[in-house]
């Protein structure tokens, strides 16, 4: 799959946020590595620690920016015997959020980044540096302690998440 020079000039970027040495926080880098070879030529794949200046730099001028990040399932998942509700934390559950250029409620992604995606969006709006379209794929996670390897529930979501990002990158899906 290739994209034309016009698309490349206007820029499509996928930003994988996270740290593979903080367990589930590594889901962003993991999906980014899966996209290598699958995403179209010309789609920029950027690894990021989520620091706002770097995020803004990565997506400034982009026609489409897709961000993959983790959201902490907090409080921890309920005991298996508890009846699940839509509000219950669920590690591995995926959320797709389209963030408008105009002010909307902040996107609160995983707290382990300190300055989170909400700050990046707020700062980008203040500086008029939002991408034309920003899609956030957020994954509920349960463990961002020190260590390597995703927890099983989050690892199991990586395929579906990769596919979801690729759907957003299809030319027909890009306005």
């Amino acid at each position: 799959m290739t994209i034309g020079p016009e698309e490349e000039r206007r820029g499509i970027v996928v930003i994988g946020v996270g740290n593979e040495f903080r367990r589930d926080d590594g889901i962003g880098p993991e999906v980014l590595s899966r996209l290598h070879g699958q995403a179209a030529d010309g789609v920029r794949l950027v690894a990021s620690d989520g620091e706002p200046a770097r995020m803004i730099e990565a997506w400034t001028g982009a026609r489409l920016a897709v961000v993959i990040d983790a959201v902490l399932a907090n409080p921890p998942p309920p005991a298996p015997s508890s009846p699940p509700t839509s509000a219950s934390p669920c590690p591995g559950r995926l959320h797709r959020i389209v963030v408008d250029r105009t002010p909307t409620p902040d996107v609160h992604t995983v707290s382990s980044h300190g300055l989170g995606l909400g700050q990046s969006v707020a700062l980008a709006r203040a500086l008029d540096r939002m991408p034309e379209r920003l899609i956030v794929h957020a994954v509920e996670v349960s463990d961002v302690g020190h260590g390597v390897g995703l927890t099983p529930a989050v690892a199991a979501a990586a395929d579906a998440l990769t596919a979801a990002v690729l759907r957003d990158l299809r030319p027909a899906a890009i306005p």
């Binding site: 740290n19 593979e20 040495f21 903080r22 620690d49 706002p52 200046a53 300190g114 300055l115 700062l123």
Partner: protein
């Protein structure tokens, strides 16, 4: 809210990649009885994680400890392993290492000055609010970051967690032609950096003096960045190999974190921009030296609130150094010096943006890391920060809890500990006796 009687300030719930911590202040009968800053230390996890790994792996693994200063971790790791293997980098490779480190200084300092620290002085809750009123100023900071990222991407392979650094040098080195556009960017950035110094020099600084012994690297003839000998304001001088004879880390009862002190000394010590500047200001390059003078800094700076000015001066310094290194660049014959591992121990030390960063690795005959030791600047500064906070809070007990908490946040940010990335990281709890 009254401030007579006993009260407790407790700051908890800090969570971020590079550091986590909390602050606790107890006041009784109008006197500050206890100040405690607890900072969780990721390096402790990595020390254990490194044991059993190949001698080639620490530069890549330790780069993940801190998203803000990965080059510092890589550099100290490389130098320690190179010492263990008996490898010395030839001039061009050493220069490239310094150039990459300059990129990190520009990046880290610019982040701290513009996004974290300046809003404190200008009365904004954070960088977003500052940007709404002063877009051009924040854009200037982003422009400086862009230059830093260009250095990191060209030499490090990418702007975070560089992947082009290896023991003995680099996987790939740039041609002179590849470096040329960087020089153009840096020349433009020099003006922005000088404007930054003038801007922050105009802030109002509380009258505060930190009397700690200062510890920094020194490399006579030039400002210390990626290497040097350790010196202190009280006359200590020692090499990286002697670090653990002079810097003692010990457990303290109230904290899980190790506290560092200098052997034979009672008080705490401070590393970082104030120490670097005070012990090395005579070796600043010309534009940085002139900017420091214009900003009103003397040869010594002991007011932690003015650390923002020192950081701005060091941005100028890093840009000047980078330009000089690019101008003199002669591509090396090989991108790296092959390191033949041998059983032994090596030590590395460099000036991370926040201060001295020490690594030690013990290798066995099979090139496996048997043990690792990492002493980051934030843990070295922890006791000094607490000591300064004790004085700082004592002088401001007339403040209500909320402004006092905000003032403590700002005071802590003077030292740019990793936890400073949270713009508001203190919550307040009042206990009355």
């Amino acid at each position: 809210m009254t401030h007579r009687g006993d009260r407790t300030l407790a700051a908890t719930g800090l969570a971020r990649v590079e550091g986590e911590g909390s602050m606790y202040v107890r006041v009784g009968d109008g006197l500050v009885e206890e100040v405690r800053l607890d900072i969780y230390e990721p390096p402790r996890f990595f020390e254990a994680f490194l044991a059993g790994r190949s001698f080639a792996e620490p530069p890549d693994i330790t780069a993940r400890i801190c998203g803000i200063c990965p080059v510092a971790y890589q550099t100290s790791a490389c130098q320690a392993i190179e010492e263990a293997c008996g490898v010395t980098l030839p001039g061009p490779l050493a220069d490239l290492r310094r150039l990459l480190y300059c990129g990190e200084w520009i990046s880290s300092h610019t982040l701290h000055v513009y996004m974290l620290h300046a809003p404190d002085f200008l009365g904004y809750p954070g960088a977003v609010e500052l940007a709404r009123d002063h877009r051009g100023i924040v854009e200037r900071g982003l422009s400086l970051r862009r230059v830093a990222n260009s250095i990191m991407e060209l030499l490090g392979g990418r702007s975070i967690h560089p992947v082009n650094v290896r023991v003995g040098g680099f996987y790939r080195v740039p041609s002179a032609a590849e470096l040329a556009p960087l020089a153009g960017q840096l020349r433009g950035a020099l003006g922005l950096a000088l404007d930054t110094v003038r801007w922050v020099a105009g802030f109002d600084f509380p009258d505060f003096r930190s009397g700690h012994e200062l510890l920094a690297l020194r490399e006579p003839g030039r400002y210390p960045i990626e290497r040097g000998t350790l010196v202190s304001s009280a006359g200590l001088e020692f090499t990286a190999a002697e670090f653990e004879q002079h810097v003692i880390e010990e457990q303290v009862p109230h904290s899980t974190a190790l506290h560092a002190r200098l052997a034979g000394r009672d008080g705490s010590y401070l590393t970082g921009p104030l120490a670097r500047y005070t012990l090395n200001s005579q070796w600043l390059p010309p534009a940085a030296s002139a900017a420091a003078r214009e900003a009103g800094l003397g040869p010594v700076c002991r007011n932690p609130f003015q650390s923002i000015v020192v950081r701005a001066v060091e941005i100028v310094c890093a840009i000047e150094e980078a330009l000089a290194l690019i101008e003199a660049y002669q591509p090396p014959d090989q991108p790296f010096v092959p390191a033949v591992p041998r059983a032994g121990t090596g030590h590395g030390v460099s000036e991370a943006p926040r201060g001295v960063l020490y690594h030690r690795y013990e290798l066995d005959q099979d090139a496996i890391v048997r043990s690792a030791r990492i002493v980051p600047p934030t843990s070295q500064n922890q006791a000094a920060i607490q000591d300064d906070l004790r004085v700082f809070v004592q002088d401001r007990l007339d403040l209500a809890d909320e402004p006092l908490t905000r003032a403590c946040e700002q005071a802590i940010r003077n030292y740019d500990p990793c936890i400073s990335c949270a713009t508001h990281f203190l919550t307040l709890q009042v206990d009355r006796g």
